[in-house]
């Protein structure tokens, strides 16, 4: 498996009236070909900003790219000029958004919206693009694609719209699919359909997936490797098995314990006390120490670095580092 994307020391800040929000503060990760990388964290931890930054979708200002590189197929995604990034978007890297209700344009037909990317990137004419759109709808399992291709988004249910989004995203055989909470707005039975569809298509065209979600169950279901983010930083990164069976960062451990698990009898859920701190007023030292059950004095003073405690298992916690 070759390396597809390497992100180094990514920093995105937002300048707002209340101060500077360090939304992403030094994030390193990589994705190999054909692999699924899960990014998990609570709202405001910077997971979506990281993904949007890769496609230069962050409005600047108020956003600012403070530093970092994202190497993809020989170029730095963060610094491509607008013509070049447009050749990447929807072509080599495509994205699925959370809200299937709002991410389709209500005044264009589905065929029109899928066909646009195809015409743009593959140089087909309108008729060929529509044929390809029908093919894509068929691929994502929409019944009667010839009729559906001429319909408008409001005629489709949430699950169908998300299928259309996936069809649109995959129409140019991307090398990387960024899925930002693709199933959060959907019911569980439809979520199962969509996840199965994504994994199925991934095998067919050997693409990589960057799966962003707050749902640990979805991560367990699809990811090969997992990154856990908290307050704009990566706190733990390892293969999926280690994250769920041998979590080393207290935040990961507490997060896993706070989710009710079907089939496991628990009398009381473990709570994580307090709330996620606001990003322009972060506590000194380790960001997690005010909520951490295992925090020591030293945690209030020093912000821990991400270090490799076991092969492939990176953790940003000084206490965990000392233990191992």
């Amino acid at each position: 498996m070759g390396r597809l994307l390497t992100v180094k020391d990514l920093k995105i800040y937002f300048h707002i009236l209340a101060g500077t929000v360090r939304a992403v503060e030094g994030v390193d990760f990589h994705i190999d070909q054909g692999e699924t990388l899960g990014v998990v964290g609570e709202s405001g931890c910077g997971k979506s900003v990281t993904a949007m930054a890769l496609l230069q979708l962050i409005p600047m200002p108020p956003g600012e790219l403070v530093g970092g590189t994202a190497e993809f197929e020989g170029s730095d995604l963060l610094r491509l000029d607008s013509d070049k990034i447009r050749k990447v978007r929807g072509n080599r890297i495509s994205m699925i958004f959370q809200e299937p209700m709002t991410s389709l344009n209500p005044v264009f037909t589905i065929g029109n919206q899928i066909g646009e990317a195809i015409q743009l990137h593959q140089g087909l004419n309108a008729r060929q693009a529509e044929e390809k759109a029908v093919e894509m709808l068929d691929l994502v399992g929409i019944p009667d694609p010839h009729r559906r291709v001429k319909e408008y988004p409001h005629l489709l249910s949430g699950g169908m719209r998300q299928r259309v989004m996936i069809g649109m995203a995959l129409s140019c055989n991307p090398a990387l699919l960024i899925a930002d909470e693709p199933t959060t707005a959907l019911d569980v039975t439809v979520q199962a359909q969509i996840l199965e569809l994504m994994l199925d298509l991934q095998k067919k065209i050997n693409m990589s997936i960057l799966m962003i979600t707050h749902n640990l169950g979805v991560i367990a279901e699809v990811a090969n490797r997992v990154i856990v983010m908290y307050c704009g930083k990566i706190v733990e990164s390892a293969d999926a098995h280690s994250i769920f069976h041998k979590p080393m960062h207290p935040y990961t451990r507490q997060l896993l314990a706070s989710v009710p698990n079907l089939g496991v009898e628990q009398t009381r859920l473990q709570e994580i006390p307090g709330v996620v701190p606001s990003l322009y007023n972060l506590p000194p030292g380790c960001d997690f120490h005010p909520r951490c059950a295992e925090a020591a004095e030293a945690c209030k003073l020093r912000s821990p670095d991400l270090s490799e405690l076991e092969p492939g298992h990176w953790v940003a916690c000084d206490r965990a580092a000392r233990k191992s």
Binding site: G158, H241, L262, V275
Partner: protein, 328 residues
């Protein structure tokens, strides 16, 4: 009716009329809740699960008389409350409260917490004006909000704290029944556990009964004693949580359980992937409403509606695989 239950509903129906599509044509109906019966025992938590549009929220609201039932009966502590109006209904409302899903839109942004939580006391004449702040402070302590924050407005609180305020508002009247309509689905993962635990603690302290409406099966399963599964306006299975977990009878329940992701990447479950989406409740399918998506559908399923039957003790299901049927 008096069988010792706190709440009994019998064949409850709630239809919504749609606008006419043609000038003299018939008005179509949304069969949101279509014949639901169950009993809620004192001190019990009944979970109500189902996908969006299955009528679970409508059912909750109809029980509370926030919506008028189209047909059927509701009994509260043995008394028929279906037709109550005016003053009697108001008296009843102090006994039955609701916690809403969205803590951002369910609190009035122009009122302070003291008013949001305390006004119900005044409305029901349960406390003299001077007593209200003290009562509010007490209840805020119980739900884990600092009493000094009583004069703050909703926007000064986080989502989890707002949900606690919503709980305090329901609790201050000392109700016997609280309907929790998706109480944690708008909250962050780490906050969900706090609110779920709080609901559990309060239940013990105030001897409450809950109807917990949620789409997240693992949350419902964690909190409930018994679980009712809804599909297109009907309860299709009702049993204790243990039985539902170990031996779900209805094919829809089986598919629903198998679709819930487990927190273990090594355990790949055998998935039952349902085809298609939930049909529209305006035109529910004939016979069993689940038959177009059912992986065990038989010929009879499309023709006759299955009966609600006690397949095993304490285990009810509505499916042709288990028992008799009636002509449609």
């Amino acid at each position: 009716m008096n069988n010792g239950s706190l709440l009994s509903i019998r064949d409850l129906k709630k239809y919504f009329l749609l606008k006419r599509t043609t000038p003299f044509g018939p008005r179509e109906k949304v069969y949101a809740v279509d014949g639901v019966s169950f009993d809620l025992r004192k001190g019990e938590v009944l979970g109500l699960v189902g996908e969006s549009g299955c009528g679970k929220s409508t059912l909750g609201r109809t029980i509370l008389h926030l919506l008028d039932p189209t047909a059927g009966k509701i009994f509260f502590e043995g008394q028929d409350i279906t037709e109550l109006k005016g003053g009697q209904l108001k008296k009843l409302r102090a006994q039955m409260q609701i916690i809403f899903q969205d803590p951002y839109s369910s609190l009035n942004p122009r009122l302070t917490v003291e008013h949001i939580v305390g006004d119900a006391l005044k409305t029901h004449g349960l406390a003299a004006g001077g007593e209200v702040p003290a009562r509010v402070a007490d209840i805020l302590d119980k739900v884990g909000i600092h009493r000094e924050k009583m004069r703050c407005f909703p926007h000064e609180f986080s989502g989890g704290q707002r949900q606690r305020i919503g709980i305090a508002r329901a609790l201050i009247l000392r109700p016997k029944l609280i309907i929790c309509d998706e109480p944690v689905s708008a909250l962050d993962v780490s906050i969900q556990a706090q609110v779920i635990n709080l609901l559990g603690d309060l239940k013990k302290e105030f001897q409450l009964s809950y109807i917990l409406i949620a789409h997240d099966l693992s949350v419902v399963n964690h909190v409930s004693d018994r679980i009712a599964v809804m599909y297109l306006g009907k309860v299709i299975e009702l049993t204790t949580k243990k039985k539902l977990l170990t031996k779900p009878l209805h094919p829809y329940t089986q598919a629903l359980m198998s679709a819930v992701p487990v927190l273990d990447p090594d355990k790949k479950k055998q998935r039952i992937i349902l085809k298609g989406d939930v049909p529209s409740p305006v035109n529910p399918p004939s016979g069993c409403r689940f038959h177009p998506r059912c992986f065990k559908a038989m010929e009879v399923c499309s023709q006759m509606e299955p009966l609600w039957a006690e397949v095993e003790p304490e285990h009810f299901a509505m499916c042709h695989l288990y028992g008799a049927c009636q002509p449609h």
